[in-house]
């Protein structure tokens, strides 16, 4: 089978829109600045993993179907309606899957001084944590950490990226909270 056929079949199986223009010369994926690697997201938060999604007790189900992240307005740590909806789902999942512990990561966009953003990320992570506690998740299963502006997921310097970076991400694990 030639490489062209391989990529067409792979794309068909995955049903990813990024594959509508496959690399017909089989030269590999060209990752320009801001490019999209169709393979990179397979196990990541935006990728699609059929096996995980099929099992509602899996971490994949938590991060993709329930939703592991919420967004914030500029310089704010208040939870909007959409964020509260996601957190209600997270709480439900954590109550059902009681072996899991969760670390809530707070993040900020790059518009701000380094120290302030660490403190702002702590506020955001804690707002999510307190909401989860209000929904019945035991405090002992939750921890928070702030990364400030140190871990952006979107790298452009305009609002489309900043909005993605102002986030709190709930990371679940079966291990110790440290």
């Amino acid at each position: 089978m030639n490489k062209f056929m391989t990529s067409v079949i792979l794309c068909g199986a995955m049903g990813l829109s990024a594959c509508t223009n496959p690399d017909r010369f089989g030269a590999g994926t060209d990752l320009g600045a801001g490019g999209v690697d169709p393979n990179a997201g397979l196990s990541g938060p935006t990728g699609i993993d059929q096996s995980g999604l099929g099992d509602p007790t899996s971490p994949q189900f938590f991060s993709q179907a329930v939703g592991d992240r919420i967004s914030f307005d500029v310089d704010q740590s208040t939870l909007n309606a959409a964020a509260q909806e996601v957190l209600r789902g997270q709480a439900q999942w954590l109550l059902t899957n009681s072996d899991y512990l969760a670390v809530v990561e707070g993040h900020a966009d790059e518009q701000g001084t380094r120290e302030y953003n660490v403190a702002l990320g702590a506020r955001r992570a804690n707002a999510a944590r307190e909401f989860l506690i209000s929904q019945g998740v035991p405090e002992s299963r939750l921890r928070t950490i702030s990364y400030g502006k140190e871990r952006p997921i979107a790298v452009c310097s305009d609002e489309s990226c900043y909005a993605q970076n102002r986030r709190a991400v709930t990371v679940i694990s079966l291990g110790s909270l440290g």
Binding site: A33, T113, E115, V118, A119, A122, E150, S157, G178
Partner: protein
């Protein structure tokens, strides 16, 4: 460490080679605070090699003295191609008329001798228009490996005699060296000379490190590290690179540390339950003391040089502003009232000014104000300027400037307090969060 090999021999006053006194037109003097419009012309003829084989060092050291002086923006160099007379010997009388004719106001002559690994550098500074030496001759002794420090020492003495300010060239800077893409940035602590030379790494890049700060003597560095999985404060010994963590309770995040002026205490921010307040820890006893207790963010604390006060930022008014309070806590007094937001304040080692980051109308600035908040002056403007740090003489600042976009990254810049001499510090790769150490002994 170079430092441990370093000995400054007693200031050796050499016999005046030329005692001819003439009436000066203008004293050889630069007032830095007024901002220099016309840089002062100087010449550094190649230093004399007093021993065989010292020629290259003599050349390099005299070049470094020139570079240090030029980097201040206060001087301009008279090119050697226009020299009328040469200075072949350190003890030979200076032909003032020849230097006056090419409008050289300050003349630096020197001599270098090498004996094994020992290096001796002598210099004299002449006020050409007065026809007299400015200060006596000085001699520094150290090692061949430490030759750059000897050059910086000479330049510090020249700068100091002409400006009346302490120098800052023989100093080091600790900073965060960054590499990798913006969404997977690797950070490690590094130390370098003030001019970007002699970079040495102090940590690896396994964990995020933030905002290192020197102890008053430069022997230790405080910084925030994520190596435990959570932000915690480490104390690192510069000579041994050994480090220990400040004790923190589970659930707490500690960051933004800074030493007290005696180096025995650490003031820092602790985030607990989403709220960030200021605390002090005594390094010897481990005793923690709470300084603030407010539902707002209190961070970026910095001591006054006399140790009695702390300047910090707080958003208790609704957005980030600067406050000053007693070093033992108590009611803070707001000092910033201009447009926009103010953060990362640093008290000048001279005590007269506070440097800060200002965010206004989508731009970032480095600025200075008096300690009561008056006479605010912005020194820079860009997409993202932040984290000022003072040169040991309190007359120059270094800060982080980050460029925008997917390929953007941070570099270090310096600017003097008049805002007239903005320069990028020559560091390979991305660099951020500089902290300027003391003038070395």
């Amino acid at each position: 460490m170079v430092k441990s090999f370093w000995t400054v021999m007693a200031a050796l006053v050499l016999a005046l080679a030329n005692t001819t006194q003439t009436v000066a037109q203008e004293p050889l003097r630069i007032e830095i605070t007024e901002g220099v419009i016309e840089p002062l012309p100087f010449a550094v003829p190649e230093f004399e090699a007093e021993t065989a084989g010292a020629e290259q060092l003599a050349r390099d050291i005299s070049r470094l003295v020139s570079q240090d002086l030029l980097g201040t923006g206060l001087f301009r160099e008279v090119p050697s191609t226009s020299f009328i007379s040469t200075v072949d010997s350190f003890v030979q009388p200076v032909a003032y008329a020849d230097w006056r004719a090419i409008n050289t106001q300050a003349l630096v002559t020197g001599a270098v001798s090498v004996n094994g690994s020992q290096l001796v550098v002598k210099f004299r500074l002449y006020d050409v228009f007065s026809g007299a030496e400015l200060g006596g001759g000085l001699q520094f002794a150290g090692t061949v490996d430490g030759w750059r420090r000897m050059g910086h020492k000479v330049a510090d003495a020249v700068y100091s005699r002409i400006t009346g300010e302490a120098g800052y060239f023989d100093s080091r800077v600790v900073f965060v060296a960054e590499s990798g893409p913006k969404d997977n940035r690797l950070k490690r602590l590094a130390i370098m000379d003030y001019d970007g030379s002699n970079v040495q790494f102090l940590t690896d890049s396994a964990a995020i490190v933030l905002a290192p700060r020197f102890s008053p003597t430069g022997d230790r560095v405080l910084y925030t590290s994520y190596e435990s999985g959570f932000p915690r404060i480490n104390v690192l010994d510069v000579a041994s690179v050994g480090r220990r963590q400040l004790t923190t309770q589970q659930g707490e995040m500690a960051f933004s540390p800074r030493f007290s002026r005696d180096g025995r205490q650490v003031v820092y921010s602790l985030a607990n339950g989403g709220n960030t307040d200021l605390f002090i820890t005594d390094l010897a006893t481990g005793v923690h003391t709470r300084l603030t207790s407010a539902p707002s963010i209190e961070t970026a604390p910095s001591f006054s040089p006399d140790g009695t006060q702390i300047v910090f930022e707080s958003d208790r008014s609704g957005n980030q502003q600067l406050y000053v309070m007693s070093a033992s806590g108590g009611e803070p007094r707001r000092i910033s009232f201009g447009d926009g937001r103010y953060g990362s304040p640093v008290w000048s080692p001279r005590g007269d000014l506070i440097a800060f980051t200002k965010q206004n109308a989508g731009r970032f600035h480095i600025g200075v104000m008096r300690t009561d908040g008056s006479e605010e002056r912005l020194l820079s403007a860009s997409f993202l300027d932040e984290s000022p740090t003072w040169a040991p003489n309190g007359r120059v600042l270094m800060f982080t400037r980050e460029t925008q976009g997917a390929t953007g990254g941070p570099s270090l810049y310096s600017v003097d307090i008049s805002g007239r001499n903005l320069r990028q510090v020559a560091v390979q790769g991305f660099a951020s969060d500089a902290a300027w150490g003391p003038l070395q002994p």
